[in-house]
């Protein structure tokens, strides 16, 4: 009787779900104690009310952006922890030595590494930066749907919470970051691991989709008066391309994950080995999302470079129109290359030839962009500030990685290096130097605008050099190893292969990367410590060109006292050159009221996921009802906005501008 009740109530959750071995216990206690430490700190400093009022319920995209980036940075640290373990394993696990991890653990760690880095570092960082900058660049006060924006963040947060909970309760997927069936089917992965993977991505994926819709409408409907599309800053263009891809690609991810979940929970036969299922269909579906996803991440990074390079070269962007066309060429072509992830499927020569050619073709618009940036630098007055260094490191490494990619676009060559470390080296070179370096450049570039003080330049440069050196050290050996025949995801290899020295070099590379991260953490701490000396009093610390630099730093909640009128590209630069000063005029401003409803929806979504993972179906149903009721309650709110009076705006604006005269 009790047993039946417990089964219905707790599903498959039991004491066995809690960690039993040393390494997992270490990770689990780090999470639990970390959580407790944060809660204790907030309680001791009496910051709960502040946290709730200023941050958790905030509808201000800049605040939401900061929260996204904080989560991403924490997740980056966790992803790097996984890297350190994997590199340590591969550097030591040759011949008779079996390293520090068993095979199952190793599999969980590389699965978690890929999943976390793409979904909870790169995606979070991406949406964070867009939230910080996009409305400011467009000359807008907000995004199109502020409440939806907050909800997206809390869905992202809910997914993140689930994936980390897998360390404490149950286990994580050991089926790789894309969980190919039939391995990811119930028969071969009976534990909760794959379910954690499915539901954390499903929830955060819905958040991403809603963000995509939101930012598309923001760009199409909320540009400042006079800002035609061809006068938009290039970052805004790149976001538009990226969000278009989100709108087209993320529904495919939602479907794919759902079908896998149905296979695992109600016994359908979509991807099973028997019963009329088709596992290769999964691989096609997931990459029909997965390849565009690569461009979703990298287009905005390209956009950031297109802002950074002109600013630090003191020249307008070379080839603006060709940049726009390159973005849209990439958007279209990115849906025609997915099969290059599995040329070895055996689709036949014609199909492989088509996708091989398209893959080589998509390198062309990317090349156009690289040349445009180089031509922008040509005869410019270049300042080697941290964002510019990230760009220059990117140019070198991205080109190397890109050439390796074009090499692999030839199916015959791909057959040789498929699933080898050569491939691993290639895509890390694209994603770290392209995406991550781009976002780092963006963060150091826009940091003063959001927080009102600059980051320490010296430590930023040190971080750049540590990352770059470490990165080359870590991945050059992998190219060689891949050509020598080392496949990816190896937890052990024979000593006679002679691979160990190269794996040790790669391990040393990771130590350099970790030093780089240490420099970044130190940079942040030191800059906050010295923030009074680092204040950006001009609002324009780099000699910027676009509208975000025309407002004081930190940018106020309402962004602009009066909406700017745009007549040219690089409007702020034109205004500065013409010596145009903004006369202070103040008007009433309509702003969204704070609401905790987004957070509530995020919590319910988390519970839906938790209920589905542990087969506590009553919980999933109750939480789903909770989401629906929350949406209806929100719809009943007749006055979701409040008016900021012109007099208050004047007071706030004066306070921001007066500081200039003090110092």
């Amino acid at each position: 009787m009790f047993g039946q009740f417990a089964n219905a109530f707790l599903g498959r959750l039991s004491w066995h779900a809690f960690p039993q071995d040393a390494i997992t216990r270490g990770g689990a206690s780090a999470i639990v104690f970390g959580g407790f430490a944060i809660v204790a700190l907030i309680t001791l400093t009496h910051r709960w009310k502040w946290l709730w009022k200023e941050w958790l319920t905030s509808q201000d995209p800049k605040r939401i952006g900061v929260m996204y980036i904080i989560v991403s940075v924490v997740m980056l640290l966790r992803g790097l922890g996984d890297v350190a373990l994997m590199r340590a394993q591969q550097a030591t696990s040759a011949g008779n030595s079996h390293g520090i991890l068993d095979a199952n653990h190793f599999q969980q760690i590389f699965s978690a590494h890929g999943t976390i880095m793409i979904f909870f570092v790169a995606m979070g960082f991406l949406f964070g930066l867009i939230n910080l900058v996009l409305p400011l660049q467009l000359g807008a006060r907000d995004v199109a749907f502020p409440f939806l924006n907050a909800t997206s963040f809390w869905l992202f947060f809910g997914g993140m919470a689930l994936i980390n909970l897998s360390l404490v309760i149950g286990d994580f997927s050991a089926a790789g970051w894309l969980a190919y069936p039939p391995l990811s089917e119930l028969k071969f992965s009976p534990t909760t691991g794959v379910d954690y993977w499915i539901w954390s991505l499903e929830i955060s994926g819905v958040g991403s989709l809603l963000s995509g819709i939101n930012f598309l409408v923001t760009i199409l409907k909320m540009r400042a008066p006079g800002m035609t599309l061809m006068k938009m800053p290039m970052f805004a263009w790149s976001v538009m391309g990226s969000m278009t891809l989100v709108a087209f690609a993320f529904p495919i991810l939602t479907v794919t994950l759902t079908l896998l979940a149905l296979d695992r929970t109600i016994g359908t036969h979509f991807f099973t080995a028997g019963g009329g299922g088709n596992a290769m269909m999964y691989v096609n579906l997931i990459w029909a999302w997965g390849h565009p996803e690569v461009y979703i991440l990298i287009l905005p990074a390209f956009g950031i470079f297109s802002e950074v390079v002109p600013t630090f070269s003191r020249k307008p962007l070379f080839g603006y129109a060709s940049m726009v066309w390159a973005i849209w060429a990439i958007v279209v072509l990115s849906f025609t290359v997915w099969l290059h992830h599995f040329f070895t499927m055996g689709a036949g020569a014609d199909v492989n030839a088509f996708f091989g050619i398209m893959t080589a073709v998509i390198a062309v618009p990317t090349g156009v962009k690289i040349f445009n940036w180089l031509f922008t630098m040509y005869r410019g007055r270049i300042r080697f500030a941290t964002p510019m260094l990230w760009f220059m490191g990117f140019t070198v490494m991205f080109t190397i990685g890109g050439v390796a990619g074009v090499l692999m676009s030839v199916p015959a060559i791909d057959y040789q290096v498929h699933n080898s470390l050569f491939l691993v080296a290639h895509f890390h070179m694209m994603i770290i130097s392209g995406v991550l370096f781009g976002y780092f450049a963006g963060l150091s570039y826009w940091f003063p605008k959001i927080f009102g003080f600059r980051l320490h330049e010296g430590l930023g440069k040190l971080a750049f050099w540590c990352w770059s050196i470490g990165f080359m050290l870590a991945f050059t050996p992998l190219y060689i190893l891949g050509l020598m025949g080392a496949t990816r995801r190896l937890d052990h290899y024979d000593a006679s292969l002679g691979w160990q020295p190269l794996f040790i070099v790669a391990g040393i590379g990771v130590i350099f990367v970790l030093l780089g991260v240490g420099a970044q953490v130190l940079q942040l701490v030191l800059s906050i410590w010295q923030r009074d000396q680092r204040r950006d009093l001009t609002g324009d610390p780099w000699g910027g060109r676009t509208l975000e630099w025309s407002v004081p730093s930190p940018a106020p909640e309402y962004n602009f006292t009066t909406l700017p009128v745009v007549t040219a590209r690089d409007q702020f630069w034109v205004d500065k050159r013409a010596g145009k000063t903004v006369e202070a005029r103040y008007e009433d401003i309509l702003l969204p009221k704070n609401t905790g409803m987004g957070l509530v929806i995020g919590v319910f979504a988390f519970l839906v996921g938790f209920g589905m993972i542990w087969h506590m179906y009553w919980l999933a149903v109750v939480a789903l009802l909770g989401i629906m009721i929350s949406v209806v309650v929100r719809a009943c709110d007749n006055e979701p906005e409040h008016i900021l009076r012109a007099t208050e705006v004047e007071k706030m604006d004066n306070a921001l501008r007066r500081r200039k005269q003090y110092v």
Partner: protein
């Protein structure tokens, strides 16, 4: 907003409506991709009957035609509700919305009864890849219809309690877009799944 302000509220509200409608269109397009993916899955798996029955044995076209007519008529009455809403005729709106709701409910009931019989005959989603994709594609449409009905009920209550305000009118517009969209998806399901299935194409 009850406070006195220099803000041009009617203009701001018109802009907000414009943004919402565009955003909803974009959402519908993403939903279109969602259904397209499910159709693709069905196209891949529809021959994988794994020794079980195929569409020709399972589908009863006259039954599905009744189902289809119920849904198509509901789209028409939804349009009538919208016309009444433009004229700000509250009782007419409620009447046609009620008819739409009942027709939608009829459709859903017929679909569930069809599913029920198939499962009872041992032809549920576990039977084969074909049936998995059939139930998922058609069931996803049914799930959309269910959410549409809940939404319709909520808007009905809004209209009764608040009248035809700008806010409720905006929501009604979105709902009718959603409802027509589901109608179009159903036409594809009717053609590709049921008609082609009965011909064993």
């Amino acid at each position: 907003m009850s406070e006195v302000t220099t803000l041009d509220m009617p203009r701001i509200e018109a802009q907000a409506t414009e943004k919402t409608v565009l955003g909803f269109w974009v959402y519908l397009m993403t939903d279109c991709v969602l259904f397209a993916s499910l159709f693709a899955v069905y196209a891949v798996l529809h021959g994988n009957t794994f020794g079980g029955p195929g569409g020709r044995e399972l589908f009863k076209l006259p039954y599905v035609l009744v189902e289809t007519m119920a849904l198509l008529t509901s789209s028409f009455t939804c349009g009538l509700a919208m016309i009444a809403a433009q004229k700000r005729d509250r009782s007419q709106v409620l009447l046609w919305l009620g008819v739409t709701f009942l027709l939608g409910l009829t459709f859903l009931g017929l679909e569930l009864s069809e599913f029920h019989h198939m499962v009872l005959d041992g032809n549920g989603w576990r039977r084969s890849g074909f049936l998995s994709s059939y139930f998922t594609l058609v069931g996803t449409h049914g799930l959309h219809i269910t959410f549409g009905l809940i939404w319709m009920a909520v808007i009905g209550i809004f209209i009764v309690r608040r009248g035809l305000t700008d806010g409720t009118l905006k929501r009604l517009t979105l709902l009718s877009l959603f409802w027509h969209f589901l109608d179009i998806v159903w036409i594809f399901i009717f053609t590709i799944v049921y008609l082609f299935g009965s011909l064993n194409i």
